[in-house]
Amino acid sequence: MSWVNAIIQGILTGGLYALFACGLSLLFGVMRVVNLAHGDLATVAAYIGIGIIAITHVPFLWSVPIVVAIMAVLGYVLQRSLIQAAISRGELTTLIVTFGLSIVIENGLLQFFTANNRGIGVGSSLISSSFSIGSGLQIAWLDVAIFGLAVVVLLGLQYFLSASKYGRLIRAVADDREAAQLSGANYQHVFGICAALAFATVALAGISYGMTTVVSPTTGTDTILLFAFAAVVIGGLGSLWGTLVGGIVLGVSQQIGAQINISYELLAGYIVFLVVLVIRPQGLTARRSQT
């Protein structure tokens, strides 16, 4: 029974990983920016959530839209200033700037919040309640809720990008920014909106992670960035549904690794990542190489 449990847990955790990967995928897909500060920004979102709840005592559910809005604005501003400046100077500069940002954020958090772990106070009823199937299976409502959130976010993004007018504009800019510019689109503004969207999903990812477990200043790089990236590569670069598949594969392999020996949890995930990189570098869902 514990194996079935591990697989179900892995699938549910996979939703969280897909949520991690969403923002990374979106920024790369549209602007060709690989944001090395991705994980740290998610951690920042979690800390903002913790701070808002601690200071204003608003109920947890009210803090979510506030954090998402703050991160979306931050995303737009950061894109229009720092990231745009880096993009126009080339790929190398973009990497250096986002890596610098990552180190600055991580050490800034370390400086102001110490290395202690913190969790987001959700109220015990939401976190601890679970339901059981059969005798040995305990499933937490929270994990189900986060999985559902990930699916809703992916569906929403998919619909927005493929069916809405603005989504079409984003895809046009992603395909050829000069041509879009000539047709009257302000590509820098579109990039900003796109970054705002990506940062909103990053905020959701950070909060979700802070709810299920605890965050510390190093969570961003140790966990969120690397898992997000592994999910993206396993699933296939540039595919939103691929990230869900990748997240689930990563989650399940981690849980199976943990079943064998608790200290193999992370290692098992990375081994599966490396195996996919060797056998199918284009990812599990992609039809052709997009690297």
Partner: protein, 358 residues
């Protein structure tokens, strides 16, 4: 096979192509004097100074390697801490079997180089940004793997054996000399690699990869070579760290596998000047000054270093050395070429601006 330093230019005019505008022998002599003076440091300065110098030399070695990767081969690796950490372990493991840690330094370099081959095979499937994160994942996976091996200290690390009964002053001096040798060999290797055919190949790739590829340049092979050399250099630096700290501490936060090592080497290179051999030297100096003045404020030096690196990456892409070079037009380590007209003096050429080799 190296390119000869004076070639006849197509037009048939009596022009000369040289590596440097002034006599390289003087620069060489200057470098020799600097190295000799540095080698005499344990006799003339306090041991506290040499201890700081050891840190500086470790950072210098790392920065030179990262510069070779990112500045010349366009490989932005964020996983160099993997080789740094492995280097430390390649000192620890022979030391546990009775090999002197100093004698094990070549093992550390060679070991890291050997490990880098299969890793290159994995990470080279991805490009630029995804290459960067893939190297990061690789470093994390290696750190996790090493922590599983209990006989070399598992997750807590181990003190380095082999120094029992050694005079601390002598040990400090030996450590300093080891660090100096590693740094000099690292910079020397980068210099001579770039002056060799590989340097020309890398410049061609940097300028236009497609054109280089279609001219028969083996792009993958050149990058592999750079990756392996950088792994060896980082491994040797990790070995020096193990000797300096007399222990090996694993772990991705605070240990030898911490991404902060890559952050330090990358920031030093960017601040000093990416794609120049002089850059890492200046960047290391800036890093050491910041680290020494701000060391009582915990992580602040890394925050400031990161902010400075971001600002320089955006506003002064050639770094501090680039600014100096613009003003005074100097090359301590000439790896490019200059075109001379007959009878032309340095002053006149500077007024015209540097002449590109066609």
């Amino acid at each position: 096979m190296s390119v000869t330093t004076d070639a006849t230019v197509r037009s048939g005019q009596d022009r000369k192509v040289t590596r440097s505008r002034r006599n390289v022998a003087w620069t060489g002599a200057g470098a020799l004097v600097v190295v000799v003076v540095l080698a005499l440091f344990p006799y003339i300065v306090y041991s506290g100074t040499t201890a700081i110098m050891v840190q500086a030399l470790i950072v210098l070695t790392l920065a030179s390697m990262w510069n070779l990767l990112a500045g010349y081969a366009g490989l932005v690796s964020v996983g160099q801490q993997a080789f740094f950490g492995l280097g430390a372990y390649f000192i620890l493991i022979p030391a546990m079997h009775g090999v002197s840690p100093f004698a094990a330094l070549p093992i550390a370099a060679a070991g890291a180089a050997v490990v880098s081959f299969p890793l290159w095979w994995l990470v080279s499937r991805l490009r630029t940004g995804y290459f960067a994160i893939a190297t990061w994942v690789m470093a994390s996976a290696i750190a996790l793997f090493i922590e599983q091996i209990q006989s070399i200290g598992g997750g807590t690390g181990m003190p380095l054996p082999g120094f029992a009964g050694m005079d601390p002053t002598l040990l400090a001096a030996y450590t300093y000399w080891a660090a100096l040798i590693v740094a000099v060999v690292a910079i020397g290797s980068v210099y001579f690699l770039l002056r060799s055919r590989l340097g020309l190949v890398l410049t061609a790739i940097r300028d236009d990869e497609t054109a280089a590829r279609s001219s028969g340049v083996k792009v993958g092979l050149a990058r592999l070579l750079v990756f392996v050399v950088a792994a060896a250099g980082c491994g040797a630096a990790g070995g020096v760290l193990a000797i300096d700290q007399l222990q090996v501490v694993p772990g991705t936060s605070g240990g030898v596998f911490s991404v902060q090592w890559t952050a330090i080497m990358a920031f030093a290179v960017i601040i000093g000047g990416l794609g120049t051999i002089e850059g890492p030297i200046i960047g290391t100096a800036v890093y050491m000054i910041l680290q020494q003045t701000l060391q009582s404020y915990n992580a602040w030096y890394l925050i400031i270093l990161g902010l400075v690196a971001i600002a320089i990456a955006i506003f002064a892409r050639r770094g501090l050395w680039g600014l100096l070079d613009d003003k005074f037009n100097i090359r301590l380590f000439p790896v490019g070429y200059y075109l001379w007209s007959p009878g032309e003096t340095r002053r006149r050429q500077r007024a015209k601006g540097p002449a590109p080799v066609s």
